[in-house]
């Protein structure tokens, strides 16, 4: 059996489930995230929930469960999906890009004639000039907003950042999952912090105990409260930061580089924003869900086989056409060949082609 594309993928990635799951090579920190998240929640469910459901409301553990489920779903989506990797250019496309992406360049010539091909390309995006840089690894001019992740060795569309906590890059395809994960984890964090403190306080009031004895009665709540307390500041900060980024349609990468800040006295406007916070949000959260461009589960030779078939088909078609025109002896312009309608707007180009001696 021949190999699938994920088995010969050139980036530094890890695959599971026959190429359905893609992650970065380094995923240790992802397990730390999982253990922390699950650990705190298990402690909460085991040591707090029974008491809280009796004394406060039976909905307390239910809501916690729903929040955890959503956090995990969003987290797994972020970690396991293709973040928007641009497949590397191969064959003639790579050669074409390497020689400056110009159709007038003859690709059959030897590379000696191309000493200094352009390595950047200026394009206009909504009136702003954007420089497209050439990526030597991927052999492409990176589209606007794309960047090469050095950890994963891939160009990522709308690159945000490489997040070791989720064990994946964050980009065009998984940014919304990442954002929603951050928001739900913030809510979960505040929720657990609030109810573990409530548990301790209620215990201390109930038996006229001091706080210290209540804490020694339920040490699990103390641990949860501590972890949640330290975690809440970072996730809350992150949620705020990404809300601001999503509202202004920026990426972390652009924000860090100061792409849309004032530079040398001239203001570079962000050409991607709709100038409407709500519009940016809906576009990021509810816009089209792009399909992966990697075709990871496809046979690695399928494309080559298909191209060979096309070549055979075209050779056959052209051979037949030639025989037709030879047998007729006199080929006229207006005659449709093989039932293909002739485009009368541009007759000259519809003639059967003959090899042009150069």
């Amino acid at each position: 059996m021949s190999k699938k594309r994920w088995q010969v993928f050139p980036g530094k990635n890890r695959f599971f489930c026959g190429g359905r799951i893609i992650m970065a090579k380094q995923i240790n920190v992802f397990f730390v995230t999982l253990i922390l998240l699950l650990g705190v929640c298990v402690l909460f469910f085991v040591f707090d929930c029974e008491y809280l459901s009796q004394k406060v409301h039976w909905l307390v553990p239910v809501i916690a469960g729903v929040l955890l489920a959503f956090t995990l779903l969003f987290l797994f989506r972020t970690s396991f999906s293709d973040p928007g990797i641009l497949p590397r250019a191969t064959g003639d496309e790579a050669l074409f890009n390497d020689r400056g992406a110009d159709n007038n360049v003859d690709l059959t010539q030897s590379s000696a004639n191309f000493r200094n091909p352009p390595r950047t390309k200026d394009v206009q995006v909504n009136g702003e000039t954007v420089k497209l840089k050439y990526c030597f690894t991927c052999k492409i001019f990176r589209p606007p907003r794309a960047s090469h992740c050095s950890m994963c060795d891939n160009c990522i569309e709308r690159f945000d950042h490489h997040c070791p906590w989720v064990g994946n890059c964050v980009g065009k395809r998984n940014y919304r999952y990442f954002y929603l994960m951050i928001v739900t984890i913030t809510i979960l964090c505040i929720y657990v912090l609030a109810f573990s403190i409530a548990h301790i306080v209620m215990l201390s009031r109930e038996k006229e105990n001091t706080l210290i004895t209540a804490m020694s009665e339920t040490p699990a709540s103390v641990i949860e409260a501590l972890i949640a307390f330290f975690a809440v500041w970072s996730v809350l900060g992150l949620a705020g930061f990404h809300s601001y980024l999503a509202g202004t349609n920026q990426t972390t990468n652009e924000e860090i580089k100061g792409s849309w800040a004032q530079r040398h006295g001239e203001v570079v406007r962000n050409p991607y924003t709709t100038n409407n916070c709500c519009g940016n949000f809906t576009k990021i959260l509810c816009g089209p869900s792009y399909t992966s461009l990697l075709r990871l589960r496809e046979d690695k030779n399928k494309e080559k086989r298909d191209m060979e078939e096309v070549k055979k088909k075209i050779e056959k078609l052209m051979f037949e056409q030639q025989n037709n025109s030879n047998s007729q002896g006199h080929w006229t312009n207006s005659q449709p060949h093989n039932g293909i309608p002739v485009d009368h707007t541009d007759l000259q180009t519809q003639l059967p082609r003959t090899p042009t001696p150069s």
Partner: protein, 139 residues
Amino acid sequence: MAANETTEVATAPKKVFVQRDYTHGTECKYETTYPTQLEGVIARETFTDTVNKINELFERAEELGCPTYTEGCLSCMTGYLLYFCIETKYSKEMKQISLFIQRQNDEIYHPRGVHIVEPMLRGLRCIELVVYPAPNKPI
């Protein structure tokens, strides 16, 4: 030119790349300028019609309308479990584009010795046109 050189050149298909047009943003759109390399093979109008239609189909796929928003909201509320049950609008539209290119190839481009490579096979970076050389006249 020597005869054997001509045959060697004739066996290697020429490639023409239609690049992305970013003037209106990062949405997928391709340049409609006619590559001079296609002169004498594909009519200017035929080429522009094809690229315009492909652009139109991509625009429809990425359109921010009610169907996309409903799909986005519903899948978000199910924690994206909905993606296991339904095919997304974008993916359906990609199949339409694939079918359209296949039809164009069969009806117009293949009989003229040209093959359009689906942009999905090139990371949507370009539309690759493979121009097969005309066969040599039989002796």
